[in-house]
Assembly symmetry: C2
Homo-oligomer: 425 residues x 2
């Protein structure tokens, strides 16, 4: 991109400020709506997505044609493409979010002080959110639905590849929401694809309450580096599985194969396998993974177990492959495994396979990751699998929300104090 024109920057600052002002006003109205009203509005939005099927699929066809012209890869085109079945999936997902329990209004705490003041803490929407995402057009509907369910307004900015699809989906959602009394500005989409407008969103401190980037690492890093607003983000998913000496060999094999290979491109996929030198079934585990066509890169002791293990470089321990490649290290005990994860992990999801309760307890206490599992595949790292319903993403930061983030992560709280004339001595 060329250097930004300062005049343009000013214009985008004003554009974002205007959108934010409208969004915040809409949010205040949305916040006053009941759970039932918000649910009905989301069902109306889902119905409108179905009613506008032709317009949305036509818009999507434009994006796909333009993507083909520009030589997008097959995988990218596949992520971009909608068909009647996928669009029905998008609409059904909105219906499902509408039916999730509304976290807003929940009383978190209540206590009565000696002076008879009653202190309560209740969940409220965060406010106006910004969602910045890449080419999947379903995010337009998913993210908007999650925001609205928790009483938030949202300013969306999708990828340029999907611009027509996103706008058509946005129009349908807004038509449905408006028909049920939600102000149109509760869900807005940035009317320009200029990247400087994203910069203006990221700098809109005090106007946008939180930005959630959804996409690849370069997008997330840009957002984290530029943002002056709070960011809830997922950066890396360098997940480990540690097979402890007291692991059940069959569980170890099945979990390792699943964690690596069920889907290799997701953030919860295992990238490094740590095997205890005292574990007897190491060769079987490696063979099972290699037999499925996965490339293995290991240290000397791992290579001695299976001739298909290539030598690992130091970089391998720090690499999130997102592919059918696995680094393997033989470790001497729990402490070395924990130290390796601390040194090389990304605090996303790490797993111990063991039948030994004390070892599991130590691992789960000491490994400082958003999700720590015992005897389960790291591919379960997903809000739906946690019983949270749809998720807006997985957060790898430490504050506000951590791990799978669903509706509760889109709320904050306020304190309500109920008095009867108390003054402070």
């Amino acid at each position: 991109m060329a250097e930004a024109d300062p005049q343009l920057d000013t214009d985008f600052t004003k554009l974002v400020a205007d959108l934010a002002k409208d969004g915040r006003a809409a949010q205040r109205k949305l916040a006053a709506m009941s759970s039932e009203q918000k649910a009905a509005a989301l069902h109306a939005a889902a119905d409108e997505l179905r009613a506008r099927k032709t317009a949305i699929l036509d818009a999507n066809a434009k994006d796909v044609a333009s993507g083909e012209e520009r030589g997008l890869t097959g995988a990218m085109l596949d992520r971009l493409r909608l068909d009647p079945e996928r669009l029905e999936g998008v609409a059904s997902a909105v219906d499902a979010v509408a039916d999730l329990p509304d976290p807003v209004g929940e009383e978190i705490d209540r206590n009565t002080q000696p002076n008879a003041l009653v202190m309560t803490r209740v969940r409220i929407p965060v406010g106006l959110l910004g969602i910045i995402y890449e080419s999947r057009p379903n995010v337009t509907a998913d993210a908007a639905a999650l925001c609205v369910r928790a009483g938030n307004a949202v300013l969306l900015r999708g990828g340029t590849e999907a611009v027509h699809s996103n706008r058509a989906i946005h129009q349908a959602m807004v038509a449905g929401l408006e028909s049920a009394g939600v102000p149109a500005a509760a869900v807005q989409i940035l009317p320009t694809q200029d990247r400087a407008a994203v910069g203006a969103m990221l700098k809109a401190a005090g106007l946008i309450d939180m930005v959630i980037p959804r996409g690849g690492k370069s997008l997330v890093e840009r957002v984290q580096n530029e943002a002056r607003v709070p960011v809830l983000a997922h950066l890396d998913g360098l997940c480990h599985t540690y097979v402890h000496s007291a692991a059940d060999p069959a569980k170890a094999r099945d979990i390792a194969v699943n964690a690596k290979l069920r889907r290799t491109g997701i953030c919860g996929a295992m990238e490094t396998l740590l095997i205890d030198a005292q574990f007897d079934g190491a060769a079987d585990v490696l063979a099972a993974i290699a037999d499925k066509g996965c490339e293995l890169r290991g240290d000397g002791r791992a290579r001695a177990l299976d001739s298909r293990v290539a030598p690992a470089s130091e970089d391998d321990w720090d690499t999130e492959y997102l592919d059918a490649i696995l680094s393997v290290k033989i470790v001497d005990g729990l402490d070395e495994a924990i130290a390796h994860i601390e040194a090389h992990g990304s605090h996303h999801t790490d797993v111990i396979v063991t039948e030994d309760d004390a070892a599991a307890q130590q691992f789960m206490a000491e490994v400082d990751s958003a999700i720590v599992m015992r005897n389960a595949s790291s591919q379960f790292a997903d809000g739906g699998e946690f019983g949270l319903g749809a998720e807006i993403g997985i957060a790898t930061g430490r504050l506000h929300a951590r791990g799978p983030v669903a509706l509760e992560g889109l709320t904050t709280y306020k304190w309500l104090v109920h008095g009867d004339g108390q003054t402070r001595p």
Copy 2:
């Protein structure tokens, strides 16, 4: 301050990185200690503060002498000064924090999925915190104690005026903590007063997990503007009291006088009084405040009620006086009051005085402040008054923690998943 020397900046980056590395290692050991062990260590720290009374008071005398030389105001010198009684207060506060319930380890959620995976969410320490504060030396002990109670390591940076006092208090705390098995690096103090070192702290993303600035607005603004690490901060306390038409006149008078004048310099002090045009006792309320020597600045209708009310300018509605000055506006109903607070407030603490439940409910739902009170003085905005024990501060941001922040605000959580060999289909 002169322009930073790039070499120096590099050195400070390394200094902070080294301190952070030691702090993080200490934090991992601290996190493995039990509640009882942490409490015992804090009691030992309190005892060491008492044992080193002479050294601490001598160090403090140096700071006071140097402050007098440099012409600090009487109020500033008073905040800086320690005496045997105040030092005992500092030690007792550490004892009190030691006895607060430990939030770490608390299970927040638990659910069992259909595949028999058990998902739990447990509170853990945030990690390594940075506390940047101004001249009160007691913060060195208070902040360190709160951090340690919740299992966090901390890097302290106090004001230059109190440098000798802070170091003496820090040495005593560390001696006590170490005697009870807490690594010394759990509580570190920046060994330089160079402001560039503060800049290095604020940019230590990934090394310092959260920074809490405690001090005046210019400090907080600087921290918020420069920080690349998450900040938990208190910015403005522009608190309103709205006297509704159905207010009890005696409660309205007592609450208004207390909210403005009990202590004028604290963040929970009322700065703007909104009186409903339909409320009968307005003149009495204004007279009671003016009789106590408070300067009043009001709109035309307020001035008509009491000749001591001077004309308010537009700026008055946006001013946090922190002094015996009050702006007064007569409003036509609840909606205008809420709109005024939305336009001019700082989302800290706002109060309605009314006997009407419906009006109270609407005000408490629609006013978007960290604390919203009914029939109570805004001066109650304090963690101790909320039953939280000691507070690290009041947060005016929207995320992670809001309002009075005590031990729970110094924790985050992780998800623990307990399986028996589950793989994801």
